[in-house]
């Protein structure tokens, strides 16, 4: 693999177009790379760097800050179990221990058949379904050891391939229009008359006064 496929490159270029500065596309492009290769390979990080105009070291330095970006291979299914407060109160610790035993891997580990990687998540805003999990960032919950095992079974037998696409949180996120408005258009359109400027000043002064 190594570098972006022509199709991915096309998507990468479209994403870069959306920002006034190319570097803003760095994280979206990392998501594309993970969609293609499962994780950020060195070659892909090099390519992302040259696409957005920074060094590969900058790409790695930035990516390493973010939990979702992986620089080591991960299993086909990334299973994350939330153990934060709402999930903790509903038995998340026991669920996580059960998951480690069932899958035979510790937190952060990948199964030898490369099927599963297990992670402990911070809150993923699904607390009304506690304890909950994400598989490739699709939500499941509330879970107990019983329905967790069922879920794993379904994953093994590929029953959920429709619900859970392979890696990449942007895999189904496709913008179908380019930008329509240039900054020149905006500057022309937003020119304020003197009275409008005065009006805005008055509003902002009044607000300042109110806050003091």
């Amino acid at each position: 693999m190594g570098v972006f496929t022509p199709l991915m490159l096309e998507r990468a270029r479209q994403l870069i177009e959306l920002y006034p500065e190319k570097r803003s596309a760095l994280i979206p492009l990392c998501h594309l790379a993970q969609e293609q290769a499962g994780y950020l390979t060195e070659e892909l990080m090099d390519e992302i760097g040259s696409l957005v105009g920074v060094s590969s070291a900058e790409v790695l330095g930035t990516a390493s800050f973010y939990d979702m970006l992986h620089t080591e291979p991960v299993g086909r299914y990334l299973i994350g179990i939330c153990t934060n407060i709402a999930c903790l109160l509903q038995g998340a610790d026991a669920l996580l221990t059960h998951a480690e035993q069932t899958l035979g891997i510790p937190i952060g580990g990948t199964s030898s058949d490369s099927m599963f990687t297990l992670e402990e998540l911070e809150c993923v805003a699904h607390c009304d379904h506690a304890p909950c999990a994400q598989v490739n960032y699709r939500f499941f919950g509330p879970l107990d050891p019983g329905n967790f095992d069922e879920l794993v079974q379904q994953l093994r037998s590929n029953e959920l391939s429709e619900v859970i696409p392979p890696h990449g949180t942007l895999i189904r996120v496709k913008r179908n229009v380019g930008l329509k408005v240039s900054f020149e258009d905006v500057l022309e359109e937003r020119k304020l008359s003197d009275s409008e400027i005065a009006n805005r000043k008055a509003i902002s002064e009044a607000a300042k006064e109110k806050s003091e």
Binding site: E21, V52, M68, N84, E122, V181, V186
Partner: protein
Amino acid sequence: MTANVTSAPLIVTSRIERERSHLIDDYLTTGGYVALRKALLEMHPEEVLNEVMTSNLLGRGGAGFEVGRKWSMLKQAPVRYLVVNGDESEPSTFKDHMLIERDPHQLIEGTLIAAYAVGAARAFIYIRGEFALGLERVQNAINEAYEYGAIGRNIFGSNFSIDLVLHPGAGAYICGEETALIESLEGKRGYPRIKPPYFPAVIGLYGAPTIVNNVESMSNLPWIINNGGAAFAALGVGRSTGTRIFALAGHVNQPGNFEVEMAKISFRDLVERSEYGGGVRFGRSVKAFIPGGVSAPWFGPESLDLPLSQDDVAKAGSMLGSGSIVIMDDHTCMVRAAWRITKFFNRESCGQCTPCREGSGWIEKIMRRIETGAGRESDLDLLLDACDNIAPGLSWPPQQTTICVLGPSIPSSVVAGIKMFRDEFLTHIKEGGCPYE
């Protein structure tokens, strides 16, 4: 979701139970894009700003700053930006998640109204990367809105034009802090920026003046434009106007998001009433609760009768914060709860400031050893001392010695835990382990 016990209308969750609420045809049959049309064709940007000022809408992201006042502080540079904060990562907060997945067009319409009022050159919606379905739905809704003519050139025939761009995060709590969000949107590590300037409204995205507002804040705007700021301000009490979504979780029979009129009902109503939480599970009683996300100090059951009002909760020594409430019943180990929250802050500290980086690590270690049976009696003073190093004086609101308020939020649960449940901490230490296991 259920109707309000007061007669207040549902302002942001009216479509939540509709099967196809995320699609534009459904949105249009339920009054969608009427407000944007009205704003663009019948109102000046200043008039939109004035309606929002009149509504006294308080930001729903955590700090509770008046939305209109923030907009009025925007520096008038030629290029300005609007960034919507959909990073929602404060533990036990899950209201924006619902608004993003279930009513993306309402979010987009609100964003466009705000962009018009502040004269943004481009608007961005930043959504945390873990919301795969949310990202999919918002992008699809943006595509639909372009096609419908609600985004792009000369929207609805007006002379307002703008592009709207969806941006995914990649997993980092700190990126919810508005200056870290901007750094992240610039393609960098999510390091909060040093203040001053206190507001991105002066220097924000790419150095340009920028407004950052929360998803729920934006989702209120279509209603405010349709019904007027005064109608919004007529709901609620005092400064707490309108309605607000409260995300109720933990040991209640029916966890969920409930939109209620501000300040009109109490925490107890929310927990106990059958249309909301339906009571504590197994008929147990409340041991403690967190009133506004894990950054907020805990309350005991005696505070259940406080109204859900920003000012009342602040006066009582905590905050409504992100609008999430966690109920802990009388079988809960408070040491474990506080330890887990500390572990979270330790994992999510960005590491720029020594008190936050080192302090969170120390506190987490001491909490762990108390919970797992290796604690000493002197640990309680050690904990309070470590907390005092992060937020001197341990007052509320906390003193800040760090670049952002993640640091001073770390002591909230530990200090409350020790204050309210000292005996329970001591039992762990004396018995050499957790009595709840």
